[in-house]
Each structure stands twice: as structure tokens, then as C-alpha cells.
């Protein structure tokens, strides 16, 4: 049984159809990356899993239990198992609480009164390689990288089975980005954590994710192992995304595939294949609506796939 099983998840805000049916699974200990442009619905997916965004249709099963539409009361015990790392590292920490209060807040929320909070704070800081005296600091006294690690410590406090991480390395310097990714890789192995990571940094995905899903306009258009997708992307959108990644080598010869224009408005979804208008490989058949098809564990929504 999968740890997380998302099926046909749909979210609309009024007339704006943000998620048009998203399905994927995450196994225990696995890292799954959701990739796509701004507005593709990545963040809404994980917020809906955590019960922080509405989902009108579909199902989210965690450990076999349906959690979509659960009440706040039903969700609270589940939040021990599903932790979230938010995108803005400093903004997600209350400026008036010390780091000690921030990372031990989950114990208070869960009513775990028997815990020695000082000892827990020390243990958590050590786990994310921050010195113990950081417990007395306030968020404004931290650098971006340190704030991220506090975010990791807080997410780990209740020993979750699943971490939902929204752009965990956005805004970090390259030298610090590596430290955070190493830390997350290490913790994942030691604690057997499963993760869903959202990012638009493909260089990061390659090093942390086992499998990845590519989203476009609130739908998955391709899914497979990270290795397979980097090696042989089959959906033209995936190919465009991968080719848009600048190489840190002035002599790199880039076979760049230009993506035309910008994503269409969610209020006026194109007919047929929704990527058709921007697709450099579009054919006549693309005026029909492509279905999701899975072959050897590789999912694809395209009528004219690349080989």
C-alpha cells in the first residue's frame, strides 16, 4: 500500500479551475518531485493534501485512510504524520517567538505535555546541524539558510512519515543550497521519511527525487523516474522545461527549444491538448483531448509524444 495515494484531485476557486484532476502515489521512504511553471497548481496540490486548501473532488489517502474533506479535529492527529515546510523560510517563522518556542510548538499544539521542551529543542537543532545556543535567538537573527534549517527542525519535531516541502531551496545561495539538500537526503535515509518536493529548479530535482511529475495547467502531463525523465523526456513540455535550464558552462551548446508565449488563462482553458498553442511539436491530432496513459511506470498525456 502506498503511503500517499492522491486520486483525481480537483480544486476550483469560483470559476478558476486550479486543479483539473491530479493523481499520483508516494511510497514510504520515497521522494517525489512536482515540477512546473508558476500557476501550474503545484502548491495547491500539497496544500490540499495537508488540508490547507479545499479540494472539491477526488481522494487523498494517507496510510490507507481518506483525509480529503476531513475536519480540523480529524486532521490534527494526522498532522503528526504529515509535516509541511513552507516556501518563505523567514516568513513562516513567527517573528515574536524564539527558535526554541518555534521548533517545540508542535509538541504544545499536540498537547504532548510530558516532553522536556529544552531537551527536544537541543536534539532538533543538533539534528539540523545548528548550535544549541540558537534556541534563544529570534528569526530576524538568522540567515536564509539557517531559517530553512529551523523549518526542517520544526517539520521533523513530531517524527512525521511524510514531509511536504514547498520550494525548499528557493532564495538560497548555491553553497548553502547543497548543505540543505545533503541534510534532507541524510535525514530521509536515517528516518525513512517520504517527501513531496515542489520546485522549479531542475538541477535540484535530479539530486533529490526518485520519481517526478510534471504539471501543466493543473494536470500531470508526464510522470516517471527522475532518471528516465531526464534521459528521455517524452512530453514536449517536459523537453522544453529541461532545455530551458541554463548550464554553468560558457561553451555548453544548448539545443534549446523555445516555448512560445505564456501559460494560457485558467479561465479559458484551450480545447484539445491544453499545451497545443505553445507546443513546438504540435500536430493536427492535438486538437483532440489527450488521455493519461501509463506504460512501464511512465505516465504521459500527449497524442504526439517525442521518442
Amino acid at each position: 500500500m502506498s503511503l500517499l495515494d492522491v486520486k483525481n484531485l480537483k480544486t476550483s476557486y469560483g470559476p478558476v479551475n486550479v486543479l483539473a484532476g491530479v493523481s499520483f502515489t508516494v511510497e514510504p521512504g520515497e521522494t517525489y518531485a512536482l515540477v512546473g511553471e508558476s500557476g501550474s497548481g503545484k502548491t495547491t496540490v500539497i496544500r490540499a493534501i495537508a488540508g490547507l486548501a479545499p479540494a472539491q473532488e477526488g481522494s487523498v489517502k494517507f496510510d490507507g485512510r481518506e483525509i480529503r474533506g476531513a475536519s480540523e479535529r480529524e486532521l490534527r492527529p494526522l498532522r503528526k504524520d504529515i509535516a509541511m515546510m513552507f516556501q518563505d523560510p523567514v516568513g513562516s517563522l513567527s517573528p515574536r517567538l524564539t527558535i526554541r518556542s518555534l521548533i517545540t510548538e508542535p509538541y504544545r499544539i499536540q498537547g504532548m505535555k510530558d516532553r522536556d521542551l529544552d531537551a527536544e529543542a537541543k536534539r532538533l537543532l543538533e539534528m539540523v546541524n545548528l548550535p544549541a545556543h540558537f534556541a534563544d535567538r529570534y528569526p530576524y537573527q538568522l540567515s536564509g539558510g539557517q531559517a530553512r534549517r529551523v523549518g526542517v527542525a520544526r517539520a521533523l519535531a513530531l517524527e512525521p512519515k511524510l514531509i511536504l516541502a514547498d520550494e525548499p531551496t528557493a532564495g538560497l545561495d548555491v553553497s548553502v543550497q547543497g548543505e540543505l539538500l545533503n541534510l534532507m537526503n541524510d535525514l530521509r535515509e536515517r528516518l525513512g521519511l517520504a517527501m513531496v518536493i515542489i520546485t522549479h529548479n531542475l538541477n535540484v530535482v535530479r539530486h533529490v527525487a526518485d520519481r517526478m511529475g510534471i504539471m501543466y495547467l493543473g494536470r500531470l502531463v508526464e510522470e516517471g523516474t527522475t532518471e528516465a525523465i531526464f534521459k528521455e523526456p517524452r512530453h514536449p513540455y517536459t523537453r522544453c522545461l529541461l532545455s530551458a535550464n541554463p548550464e554553468p558552462d560558457p561553451d555548453a551548446r544548448l539545443e534549446r527549444i523555445a516555448l512560445k508565449g505564456e501559460p494560457p488563462s485558467l479561465l479559458r482553458r484551450p480545447k484539445g491538448c491544453e499545451f497545443r498553442e505553445r507546443c513546438p511539436f504540435a500536430q493536427e491530432v492535438c486538437s483532440q483531448t489527450p488521455q493519461w496513459e501509463v506504460e512501464n511506470g511512465h505516465g504521459l498525456r500527449c497524442l504526439a509524444p517525442l521518442s
Binding site: 547543497g178 535540484v204 535530479r206 539530486h207 535550464n245 541554463p246 558552462d249 561553451d251 544548448l254
Partner: protein, 326 residues
């Protein structure tokens, strides 16, 4: 030296703070030639922002210029009266900021804002409007005439950044400063902006000072690169030299850290342990020595000077001095 546009010459800038003087820039020297794209690479706290605000003289009130000159077409901008400086800003030197969502005035139409920035021109309003539409077209905004009537919130982030570029280029400046213009954008839009900048640079023949911490973008776009660390230039040179034959350990390790380099999945990614030193309380000697894996006794004793190693390739490291290494 007739083709030199901007010369930063031994510039040192402090911020006066309650903790004492924060030495934000120390002995910065580099130049930008006409029509050239120079990239400035550096991580948080390296002094990129102080450098830009010093060039434009838009510094905070507690800024002190300790030494050096910022010569633009031979004229020291630090000595220029404010009135003359105002004439220069936006006309000869213009800037594109990092966050396209906050660059524009939310309550004025894009057309109105593009008219306003032509306040120096005496041309009739209809001409200015036509010019604005032409610039929007040049940065690839479809149907520019109609879109002049729209407000910033009606445009996407990528479009807003392109509009910011259109505005910055409208007065055909000699120097365009681009302060991390693609950081807030998706990779696909980042590519669009870079390619657009390259085209426009050809068309307008302006020099671009491109600030970024994204090595991939720098490698793709720039002719020359200046690497900064903790308020100092540690290395500068032609882009191929910097990426293929870095002569400063910081540059070398920064390039190693970029996961874009590592094609196979790595369990442990390279990092640079340690932190940037406190600029209000600088240690003596080389500023990078605490984090450097090749530090020698001399690195603690003396600040290594920025010396020319090859034609145009400068580095500030004792490793490049034979007698010191022995």
C-alpha cells in the same frame, strides 16, 4: 582606453552602524567597456547591492565613500552635483530591478508610466505614446497599443519584467544595470528574458552590468565576469577563463557547488562550509581563508592584492604567487 564606459577604481564604501563601521565594499576595481555584458557573481552579503547603489548614487544615509572613484565616460560620478546625477539616471544609466511585481506603480496604467518616464523629451504626447508602444513591441508584448491602457496587475510576472526592460531601454542608455532580473521568474521565462536581453543589447548597443548568483545565466549571457566575496573582488576575467580556469579557490568551489554541473545523481553535493565573515569586525589577511581548503600562513598575515595573471584575468589569492606558495 576610449572604449571604456564605466571604471570602478579602488572603491571602498562603509556603512556607519551602532556596531562600528561596516566595510561593505573594499578596494573594488573593474571596468565595463562600451557594448559589453559584464556579469557580477556573488552570494548574499557580497556587496552587489551596495555596488549598484554606489554607481547610481542612491545610497542609504549612513553610507560613507572612503576612497576611490566611479568614472562614467571619464567623469567621477561621486563628485557630480546631485542635479547632474539626476540627469544621468534613467537617461545614460538605467536599471532593471529584481522583483517585477513591485517595480511598477499599481494605480497608473503602463502607458501612463511609460509616458511619465519620457518627461525629458519635448515631443508631442502622441509621439511619446507611439514610442512606448514601439518599445513594448520590441520586448515581445503582443498588441502593444491596446495593452498600454492596462494596469500592472493585468500582466504576468514575465511580462512585467519585460515591460521594466522596455522602460529601462526607452531612453537608449549607454549602461543598463540588471539586478538579478530573472531570479523571481520560472526557468522558461528566465530563458525568454535572457534571449531578449541579448537581442536588445545588439540592437541598442548598450553595455549591461548583469548581477546574478545564477552561474548558468552568467555563463550564457556575459562576456566578462567579476566574482565578489564579502565586499571584495576576488577574481575577474573573460567568461571562459573564469569558468574553465578559475584562479581563486572561492570561484572554483562556487562553480563546483552548482548542481547544474553534476549530471549523475549525487548523494552528497559539494558545499562551502563556514560563513561569510562579519564585515564590521574583519579578520586580517585574506577574507576567504577561514573557508579555504588551501590556506597558508601568509593568508592570515596579509590581504592578497588583486593581481593580473594573464591578459585581463585578475585574481586576489596568494596561491598565484610562486614565492608565497613555497
Amino acid at each position: 582606453m576610449t572604449d571604456t564606459l564605466l571604471e570602478i577604481d579602488r572603491l571602498s564604501v562603509d556603512y556607519e552602524t551602532a556596531r562600528g563601521d561596516l566595510k561593505a565594499l573594499r578596494d573594488i576595481s573593474f571596468d565595463v567597456r562600451k557594448g559589453e555584458i559584464v556579469g557580477i557573481v556573488g552570494e548574499s552579503g557580497c556587496g552587489k547591492s551596495t555596488l549598484i547603489s554606489s554607481i547610481l548614487r542612491l545610497t542609504a544615509p549612513n553610507t560613507r565613500f572612503r576612497q576611490g572613484e566611479v568614472r562614467f565616460k571619464g567623469q567621477d560620478l561621486l563628485q557630480l552635483p546631485e542635479r547632474k546625477m539626476r540627469d544621468l539616471r534613467g537617461a545614460d544609466i538605467s536599471i532593471v530591478f529584481q522583483d517585477p511585481m513591485q517595480t511598477h506603480n499599481p494605480v497608473l496604467s503602463i502607458g501612463q508610466q511609460m509616458l511619465d518616464i519620457q518627461h525629458r523629451s519635448k515631443a508631442p504626447k502622441a509621439d511619446k505614446r507611439a514610442r512606448a508602444a514601439q518599445m513594448l513591441g520590441a520586448v515581445g508584448i503582443p498588441d502593444p497599443e491596446a495593452r498600454l491602457n492596462q494596469f500592472p496587475h493585468e500582466f504576468s510576472g514575465g511580462m512585467r519584467q519585460r515591460i521594466a526592460i522596455a522602460m529601462a531601454l526607452m531612453s537608449e542608455p549607454d549602461l543598463l544595470i540588471a539586478d538579478e532580473p530573472t531570479t523571481a521568474l520560472d526557468a522558461t521565462l528566465e530563458v525568454q528574458i535572457i534571449e531578449r536581453l541579448q537581442e536588445l543589447q545588439q540592437e541598442f548597443n548598450c553595455a549591461i552590468l548583469f548581477i546574478s548568483h545564477h552561474l548558468g545565466v552568467i555563463a550564457e549571457l556575459c562576456d566578462r565576469v567579476v566574482v565578489m566575496y564579502a565586499g571584495a573582488v576576488v577574481e575577474s576575467g573573460e567568461v571562459r577563463e573564469i569558468f574553465h580556469d578559475p584562479k581563486h579557490p572561492y570561484t572554483r568551489r562556487l562553480i563546483d557547488c552548482d548542481p547544474g554541473h553534476i549530471k549523475e545523481r549525487a548523494r552528497v553535493l559539494p558545499t562551502i562550509p563556514g560563513e561569510v565573515p562579519d564585515l564590521a569586525n574583519l579578520p586580517g589577511g585574506c577574507i576567504f581563508r577561514d573557508r579555504c581548503d588551501q590556506a597558508m600562513p601568509r593568508c592570515a598575515a596579509e590581504v592578497p592584492p588583486l593581481t593580473q595573471l594573464k591578459d585581463g584575468h585578475h585574481a586576489a589569492c596568494w596561491l598565484n604567487h610562486k614565492e608565497a606558495a613555497e
